[in-house]
C-alpha cells in the first residue's frame, strides 16, 4: 500500500506544480488542470474524445500486430541463417536509420491517403526494430535444449511451444514494449499528416484553433490509455512469464 500511496503523491505534486505554473502563465497558453479535466469529461460525455481515442487505438493495435508478426518472422530468419543475415542484415541497418517521417510521406505518396497506407507506414517504421531484437533472440536459442527435445521426441509443435517460445519470450516482450512506445507516437504523426480522425488529427485541428486546453485533454487521455495498457496487460504478462525464475 505504501508504494501506491507514494505514486499517488507523486501525481498530486505534478498537478500542484502545474496549477502553480498556470497561475503565472497566460491561461490561453497553459490552462489550469481543472479546465483540462473538465474538457476531458465533456469530451467523454459527448463521445467525441472516446471516438478519436478508439480510432487511434485500433490503428495502434493493427499496426502493432502487423509489425510484430513480420518483424518476428524476419528476425528469426536472419538469426537462424548466417547466409540470410549476410545478405539482408545490411538492409536492416538501412531501414533502421530511415526516419519514420520519410516512411510515412513515401507511403502516402505511393499508396495514396488511405487507411492501408497509414497502417503500412506505421508498421514499416517499427519492423526493423522488432527484427533486430528477435534476431538476437534467435541467436541465443540453446542447442542443448533443442537436442533434448529431439531425443525425447517433442515434435515440431511442442518444440516451438515449450522450448523455443519461452526462450524468445523476453525478446518478444522487449520488442513489444519498445514497439508500443514507438508506435503510439508514429500513429499520431500518420494521423496528423493524412487521416481525418484519431487523436493525431484532433491535435492538428486544435493546434490550428490554438486550443491548448483541448490539446492537453487529448494528451492526458492518451497517456491514461497507455498507462492502463502498461499496468493492465504488459506487466501482468511479464510477471506471469517470469514466474519460473529463481
Amino acid at each position: 500500500m505504501g508504494r501506491v500511496w507514494q505514486h499517488g503523491l507523486s501525481l498530486l505534486l505534478l498537478f500542484a506544480a502545474w496549477q502553480v505554473a498556470a497561475g503565472f502563465a497566460d491561461l490561453r497558453v497553459l490552462p489550469a488542470p481543472g479546465a483540462v479535466l473538465a474538457m476531458m469529461a465533456a469530451g467523454v460525455a459527448d463521445g467525441e474524445l472516446l471516438h478519436h481515442l478508439g480510432v487511434t487505438l485500433a490503428r495502434v493495435a493493427a499496426s502493432f500486430a502487423l509489425a510484430m508478426t513480420i518483424g518476428t518472422a524476419v528476425g528469426l530468419a536472419l538469426g537462424r541463417s548466417a547466409l540470410l543475415d549476410r545478405l539482408f542484415g545490411g538492409w536492416l541497418l538501412f531501414f533502421l536509420n530511415l526516419p519514420a517521417l520519410v516512411v510515412i510521406i513515401l507511403s502516402y505518396v505511393w499508396f495514396g491517403l488511405s487507411e492501408a497506407a497509414a497502417l503500412f507506414a506505421v508498421a514499416a517504421s517499427k519492423i526493423p526494430n522488432v527484427a533486430v531484437v528477435l534476431r538476437e533472440g534467435a541467436r541465443t536459442l540453446d542447442p542443448d535444449l533443442r537436442d533434448m527435445a529431439r531425443v525425447f521426441r517433442f515434435g515440431p509443435w511442442r518444440t516451438v511451444r515449450h522450448v523455443v517460445m519461452p526462450q524468445l519470450a523476453p525478446f518478444l516482450l522487449a520488442a513489444a514494449r519498445s514497439g508500443l512506445a514507438l508506435i503510439w507516437k508514429i500513429v499520431l504523426v500518420v494521423e496528423l499528416l493524412g487521416r481525418s480522425d484519431g487523436v493525431g488529427f484532433q491535435l492538428h485541428v486544435q493546434f490550428q484553433l490554438f486550443d491548448v486546453t483541448a490539446i492537453l485533454a487529448y494528451a492526458l487521455a492518451f497517456i491514461a490509455v497507455v498507462q492502463v495498457i502498461e499496468w493492465g496487460i504488459l506487466q501482468p504478462v511479464e510477471h506471469h512469464l517470469a514466474r519460473w525464475r529463481r
Binding site: 537436442d147 531425443v151 521426441r153 517433442f154 515449450h162 519461452p166 519460473w244
Partner: protein
Amino acid sequence: MPAGAGSLVLDVRAKDFPGRPPRAVLRDVRLTVARHEVVALVGPSGCGKTTLLNLVAGLDDRFEGTISRPEGRLAVVFQNPRLLPWRTLGDNLALALPPGTPDLDARIGKALDAVGLAGRRDSFPNHLSLGQQRRAAVARAFVVEPELLLLDEPFVSLDEATADRLRTLLRTLLERRPATVLLVTHDLREAITLADRIVFLAGTPATVVDDVRITLPDRTEATVEAFRRMILERRASQ
C-alpha cells in the same frame, strides 16, 4: 553373425570435427552392447566420449560408419539435467511422452515417486538443488520406458554421498526395468559400480583400447576398490 535384436551395434570408422585442418576425434570405434547390458565408456576428459554419445543418440550424423540401435524409445540423461526451466517437473516429464498417452498422470507420478520427488511435481527446476534436478532427469529418462538409455556423466559435480545415492537409485531402477545402457564416465569407480562391462577409450583420435567384463558377485565399497586396483594394474602393464 548379426547381433541379437535389442542390441546396440557401433561401427564408427571416423568422426572428424570440421576445420582447417579437420580435427580427428574418433577412429575405428567398434562396440556391441547386448540387449539389457550396461556398458560403461571410460576415458580421460575431452577424449571424445560425449561426441560418441551424441552419435549414438542420433543428434549428430556427420560421421563415417554405421550405428544400429535397438528398436523402441531412446532416453538420454545429459551431463547437465537439461530440464525446461519454465516448465514444472510434472510438465517436463509429460512432454517426453506423446500426447494422449494413457495413464499419463499416473506414470508421471510413479516416475517422480521412484526418484523421491513425489512432492515436487509442481516445482520449477530452478527451485530444486542440482541433485534433485539430476534425479528429475533420471525420472524423465525412465518415464518413457526406454529400450536404449544413454547416460553422459550423469552424476558429475555432485558431492560423493549424493552421487552414491543416485548410483544406487539408478541400479534399482534398472533392476526393475532393464534397458540397454551406455554410460559415459571418467570415474572408474562409478563405472565398476554400475556396469557389466567397461570399454576404455583413449588416444587422439580416440579408439577402443580395452574391454573388461566386470565379474563381481556383489559390489561393496571393498570389492569395487579391489577391482579398480586390478584394472589400473592391468592398464599400466599394457
